[in-house]
């Protein structure tokens, strides 16, 4: 099964579970959790079901295309179901079966792994899902986002698409994966990984990044004042990515790290508060 078939299968499966199929968000994020289709929609009390592919950027994970499974951009398949159904674990298991995995021949484990994203004031309780020792999914009951306690509780299921595909194809290297019948991951991604690693680690201009960070944070604050919460949140996402770039340039000390993360979180928390205070019905 190629990666695009894997994606199509998951789309079909989760659409069958009543999920609306969103499209990837167009701002750089570190994880699917950060996109508005998850972040805003988990805050209120209304039911919500969504599934989507989200490219996720983590500049420090870049390896110039030389490491078989570490990349500065990978693809997540993100599912949010709120409230979490009582049989959601079985549904997740069914989704693996729907991919043709014969589970009785394998070892599927839910291994304690609580998740936390200090930048967006979010945490949850759950597991990393291991299939024959390979981590293929993070399964989390979301407890808090934007500093707000969530109720009803959403469940977040994040598949690591490359890893799952490695399992399905029985391969050891991301770059050998087949995206479609005749296009390989290498053709699509190798040059991107090499060039972005060079940029992330060596060439990103620290001074300009720092300036951009300051300007973007100011923009976020002023948008919050004007109650334009979605644009304000976009600015926070941009800040988070700028921070990640600065980090991969080694321009952030341990103390600064705590300070800057706290700064972004404060903005995000304000957005979440306001969003919950004056909910606009669409």
């Amino acid at each position: 099964m190629s990666l695009q078939n894997l994606i199509m299968n998951l789309q079909k499966f989760w659409a069958g579970q009543g999920c609306y199929l969103a499209q990837p968000y167009d701002v750089e994020v570190g994880a699917g959790t950060m996109t508005p289709d998850t972040f805003f929609r988990v805050l209120d009390r209304r039911p919500w079901r969504v599934a989507y592919v989200q490219p996720s950027r983590r500049p420090t994970d870049g390896r110039y295309g030389e490491n078989p499974h570490r990349v500065q951009k990978h693809y997540q398949y993100q599912v949010i179901v709120k409230p979490s159904p009582s049989d959601i674990q079985q549904t997740y298991i069914d989704s693996l079966v729907s991919l043709g995995i014969r589970l009785p021949e394998h070892d599927l484990r839910f291994d304690e792994d609580d998740w936390e994203s200090p930048t967006i004031g979010a945490w949850g309780v759950g597991w990393q899902v291991l299939l024959d020792g390979l981590e293929i999914t993070q399964f989390t009951y979301f407890q808090q986002a934007g500093g707000i306690e969530l109720f009803p509780v959403p469940v977040e299921i994040t598949y690591g698409l490359e890893r799952l595909e490695m399992f399905l194809e029985g391969k050891d290297n991301f770059y050998d994966l087949q995206w479609s019948g005749d296009v390989h991951y290498r053709e699509l991604r190798f040059r991107e990984e090499k060039e972005f690693s060079e940029y992330n680690f060596n060439l990103a201009n620290i001074e300009r990044l720092q300036k951009s960070f300051v300007l973007t944070a100011e923009e976020a604050a002023s948008l919050i004042e004007k109650n334009l919460l979605l644009p304000a949140y976009d600015m926070c996402l941009k800040c988070s990515h700028l921070f990640n770039l600065l980090d991969s340039r080694g321009a952030i000390s341990v103390t600064e790290r705590i300070k800057v993360i706290g700064q972004i979180r404060a903005l995000v928390n304000q957005i979440a508060q306001k969003y919950c205070g004056r909910e606009v019905t669409p």
Partner: protein
Amino acid sequence: MELLLEINTEEMPSSHIKAGLDQIKEKLAAELSASHVAVLSLETYGTSRRMVVVGDFAPQQENKEEIVVGPPKTVAFSADGSPTAAAKGFAKAQNVEVEKLQIFQTPKGEYLGLKKVIKGKPTREILTSVLPAIITALSFPKMMRWGACNLRFSRPIKHILCLFGGETLSFSIDQIKSDNFTTGHKIHSPQKFRVRSFLEYKTLLKKNKVIVSEGERKKLILDRIEKRLQPLKAKLYPDEELLDKLAHDVEYPYVLLGTFPQEYLKLPIEVLSVAMREGQKLFSVVQDNKQLPCFLGVADTPKDPKSLIRKGNERVLKARLEDAKFFWEQDLKMPLSQRAAGLKQVIFQEKLGSYEAKTARLKSIVGYLCDKIDEKKLKKDAVQAAELCKVDLLTEMVREFPSLQGKVGGLYAKAEGYPATVVQAIYEHYQPVSLEDNSPASLAGALVSLADKLDSVVGAVGIGLQVSGSSDPFGIRRNANGICKVILDRKLVFSFGHLLEKAISVYESTLERPREGIVASCQTFFEQRLRYIYEMQGYRYDLVNAALGAGLDNIYYSALRLKALGILKKSPHFEPLILMAKRVNNILRGLPSYKVNADLFAEKEERELFSTFTIIKENVSPLIANGDFAKAQNIIFKMQSPLTSFFDRILVMAEDKKTRQNRLALLQAISELLLQVADYSQVVVEGEK
């Protein structure tokens, strides 16, 4: 009658299962005893997906007898002995014949009354109200909610099975209704099945690929590991914690033996075993302490017929080892001494500065310690270890496997050809991480460990960080325990007060609190830690007080004092010596100190006491200085006889001021000498109030 309760959950962490089961057991036993229900047995079992309670209880509460008191005998019967209207009325009100009534002796006299037997409530009824209350009140180290449930629990509850006497015991917890069925293994046998007893439950579960007893699973894992390893003549790299985790995590253990390419054997065993343990939870396999190119894993399945599980794990492990090898080779490209410059960038604590500053302090403290314990030869190596011990924080390997900090530094130092003393000291300087952990095996390692931990404690205390209850954010308590343990294990003799001063002075102006405040806080804190450690060792609190009361400056000596007191406690000298010391102390209470004038002693008994004391002091002082408190104690005991005569014959509080003060001065000198061994006045002797 048998109770069977199974709380079926999504995978719970092992510590939560244990905490949950202990609470259920304790609370259930307490509730039943409060309700007068006899408990014949009460046991718990668990897997990561089920908390199971099995009990054998009386079917109902014990019956209670109650006496209902009616009218006085004089009112209830007329002169001829026949019941009056009052008696008849009472009988009617109680719904019995008058003949059933009896006369009872009460404090107010004889009364007519009725003995009633109140039948106990059925246990089923009690359990129906008690169990849901216990389950909803369980507390776990970290709680969560799910769905639209208001309940907070460890992980979502999927289902509850509850039987009493083979019949469903019905109750509801937040939309979950108890029932009489359970389910098997989540992959191999997920279907529902009905059960009527624990025996049936256990048997059917096993058929459905779940072994409910943790002990049985653990034994199975060990047996199968043994079977796998025997042909290889190899052993498991011991990891009790991992074994417990796996015995808990799987419902039906299968042990697999996999291999990895020889080329990764270049990596040290520490790195290999951590790469295996973290992530995939695999055991490494050794032969004569050498790593073999294979691993053992525990899967949650009855079998691996196509070896897919083994091959999958081999593939993932190879990728991890490839990473580790990459880190190892990358890290070795830059020598530690050169890498050390980067410590400036790593913050030790926001207010306490970088690891570069910490390293400078450690060098100074370690050098000081070497001088104080007279280990001049060791100084060069120990200081070099201090200089390099934190550098591995900058390596890729420690960034990937933080639990290897220290060890990785030692391994790189070894690869670079540093002296064995330096290598070992770096390697083990984080030890002991708890009171159960071993102290460093080398003296240099112990000194670096001591300096590192003391620097952290003094720094934290110096900026006002505090330990409270279970919260110990900066590891102050853990570090202080480590310091005490190292000093006691290595029998290090030095002035702790002076060391504290040194540790404070190397911070220069970094610390916010004044020096005296830090010293006082540290002294109190260390006294508490020692008290805790000694009481854990089984010493009685009053002996601990007596040992610590003689001073803390020499921590190792406080342990020797305590040991001497322990010996004394078992000897016939114990009571007389304690009473003698108390008698001396009592008379001196609240007095200013005086000076002895030998010429003023006129009476025989006081001259004798003075000369015995002078001789004893001369003999005992070197013993005290060397920490031989048991021997010192024996010699001091020889003062008992002259002291008794002194108290019998001499009036201490003599009218003449000079005589009186001189006698008191002698007793003060004796008291001072005693206090150099222990503060005997803190010891409690039998019969004393």
